[in-house]
């Protein structure tokens, strides 16, 4: 409870600061005025049209990545089973760039196509990996292969892209909140409002799956059915977040293990991971915009944070006998 409360406060504070601070400063009262629909000179545009959608997309996308990552990592009992590593984000990106470059689709159809792409990717990996009752390590290895395939699809499509499509398509390579508007924020908010309660409802069973699939089943969890439901719900959140902000790297990967560490062994890490993911994206975007002298996309900042952790995990797992 304490961890959750502290994180809620931290997320709220960072969100507020991201609305107040920028090239020009606005007081909390002015920000509040904009949120409640009053006309505040200057702030109505800067906060209402630029910062508010940007921070909202950052907050929601971060939460989705954190939750989606924690669901996969907990379900497969492995921190490497993060959707950004096992090709689910890559599947969404590949579908999206095909939609933008070859089919000339708009934002919403692209988001839907990305969701379908991510779901097809996840379910294909699932079917390949769990054919005979399956194992987590196989899921991850197949996923890494799938990620490589889709990343080359993305590279190929971009090499064929017309110049005017390139900017929209580039967003699907590095997570980026530049130009985030209400067009991105609204569909994402809808996905969050529907998807997050479903996952929180499933998170009690998810927690029991930490004891192993057999033990969870013995305790009354219909493991196969829950796994499919969790995959669909988590992938939908991930795909909508990717559609709005691009595949912000390593947020899904970092949030789960850090949430589990903050929380200890009891309780479901899903909610904490969502809050941590939101915090991570808001802070990383703020750092990327204002603190480094040059403007960096948020995905570059999170990538710099996440890559060393990935190397650390790989070294640790190879020391502990090579099991993933």
């Amino acid at each position: 409870m304490l961890v959750t409360s502290i994180l809620v406060i931290a997320v709220a504070a960072t969100y507020l600061v991201s609305l107040m601070v920028g090239q020009s400063f606005y007081s909390p009262a002015e920000v509040w005025g904009v949120i409640t629909g009053q006309l505040v000179p200057g702030a109505s545009f800067t906060v209402g049209e630029l910062r508010l959608p940007r921070s909202t997309v950052g907050l929601l996308a971060g939460a989705c990545f954190g939750i989606g990552g924690a669901v996969f990592q907990t379900m497969l009992r492995n921190p490497l089973a993060s959707p950004d590593i096992i090709g689910i984000n890559a599947g969404a990106s590949a579908a999206a760039v095909v939609g933008i470059v070859f089919l000339s689709l708009d934002q919403t159809p692209v988001a839907i196509l990305a969701t379908v792409g991510a779901l097809v990717t996840a379910l294909s990996i699932y079917l390949l990996a769990f054919k005979d009752g399956g194992a987590g390590a196989r899921f991850i290895l197949i996923g890494i292969g799938v990620a490589a395939i889709f990343n080359s699809v993305v590279a190929y499509v971009l090499s064929r892209a017309a110049e005017w499509d390139l900017q929209a398509a580039m967003r699907w390579i590095t997570g980026n909140l530049n130009g985030a508007s209400w067009n991105e924020a609204v569909p994402l908010a809808v996905a969050v409002v529907i998807g997050v309660p479903v996952i929180l409802w499933l998170s009690r069973d998810l927690e029991l799956m930490r004891l192993g699939d057999d033990t969870a089943a013995a305790l009354g969890v219909p493991v196969e059915r829950r796994r499919v439901m969790l995959i669909i719900a988590a992938v939908t959140l991930l795909a909508f977040a990717t559609a709005a902000a691009g595949p912000i790297s390593f947020v899904a990967f970092l949030a789960g293990p850090i949430a589990a560490r903050m929380l200890g062994p009891v309780g479901s890490p899903v909610l904490v991971a969502g809050l941590f993911g939101a915090l991570l994206v808001l802070v990383a975007d703020f750092v990327g915009q204002y603190l480094l002298g040059l403007r960096l996309p948020v995905g570059v900042v999170t990538g710099v944070l996440g890559a060393p952790y990935l190397i650390f995990l790989l070294i640790r797992s190879s020391r502990s006998g090579g099991t993933l």
Partner: protein, 274 residues
């Protein structure tokens, strides 16, 4: 004493992919008794236990709990009557003993679970029965193998099922902890009338602790019944391909298998099926 649930397998066939492991097998588990399943490696005994626990749907036939097909019953309902201790359960890093044991109460909770005094009582009884009250606050991953096995059994006890299935509960334990675990399961059977079905490797311990012995070979039941009837030199030869002499255990009168290998036995016994 609880009303005994009956657990039977009716003509079940089990397979992984194309590989058939168990072929049209019938098994009736005697209610309120201790049953041990023995057999050579890969004879299908663990697979059979998985099917009995609803983890593996049979290709043909049914597993019946009180006459109802368990693969058609909701998982949660099955979990209230049927407990399972898998071969290698996983304890989340750092989880405390009492927290893990509490998980056993899950099948008794509705969608809006509230922890009730009945849950507290069940967990306290489970800790008591397995003699782990003193270590209830310690992290499971710091315990010895024997203590850890007690914790998992405690979790299954907290589940308060009429039937408890265990897949090789004594593997990886030294001999004193093996006896310890089997004594504990016998206590449970005698005090609560819990029906126990376990896969065991050690024939002599199986003969001593089981009321009912099932010997499996190549996916079929070779023999079943009282240990004295089942555990003969002929069974050991057929099921394990091992020559042996079977004598009455001087302590209990139950059968005791003395294996005959190529070394360290008098020449006149060499290779004999006595």
């Amino acid at each position: 004493m609880t009303a005994h649930r009956t657990l039977t397998a009716a003509g079940i066939s089990l397979a992984y992919g194309d590989r058939t492991i168990v072929d049209t097998l019938d098994l009736t588990v005697p209610a309120g008794k201790v049953t041990a399943i023995v057999g050579a490696n890969a004879c299908g005994k663990s697979t059979l236990l998985k099917a009995m626990a609803r983890l593996l749907p049979p290709r043909a036939g049914q597993v019946l709990l009180d006459g109802k097909d368990i693969h058609r019953m909701p998982t949660k309902q099955v979990a209230r009557d049927l407990g399972l201790l898998p071969q290698s359960p996983i304890a989340p890093e750092g989880i405390a003993v009492s927290d893990l044991v509490s998980r056993g109460r899950t099948p008794h909770h509705g969608p809006l679970a509230r922890w009730t005094p009945a849950d507290d009582k069940a967990v306290a009884e489970a800790l008591e029965a397995t003699d782990i009250v003193a270590i209830a606050d310690r992290p499971v991953d710091e315990l010895s193998g024997g203590q850890r096995q007690r914790v998992w059994i405690a979790m299954a006890l907290a589940q308060q099922t009429d039937v408890l299935l265990l897949d090789e509960p004594t593997t990886f334990l030294d001999v004193s902890h093996q006896i310890d675990v089997l004594d504990l399961l016998t206590d449970l059977n005698r005090s609560r009338g819990t029906t126990i079905v376990m896969v065991l490797h050690d024939l002599n311990l199986a003969a001593r602790y089981a009321d009912h012995l099932v010997a499996m070979s190549a996916g079929r039941i070779f023999a079943s019944g009282a240990p004295e009837q089942v555990l003969t030199a002929e069974t050991v030869h057929e099921v394990f391909g091992l020559d042996s002499r079977v004598i009455p255990d001087p302590l209990t009168g139950r059968p005791l298998v003395l294996p005959i290998g190529r070394h360290h036995v008098p020449a006149r016994l060499d290779g004999a099926v006595s």
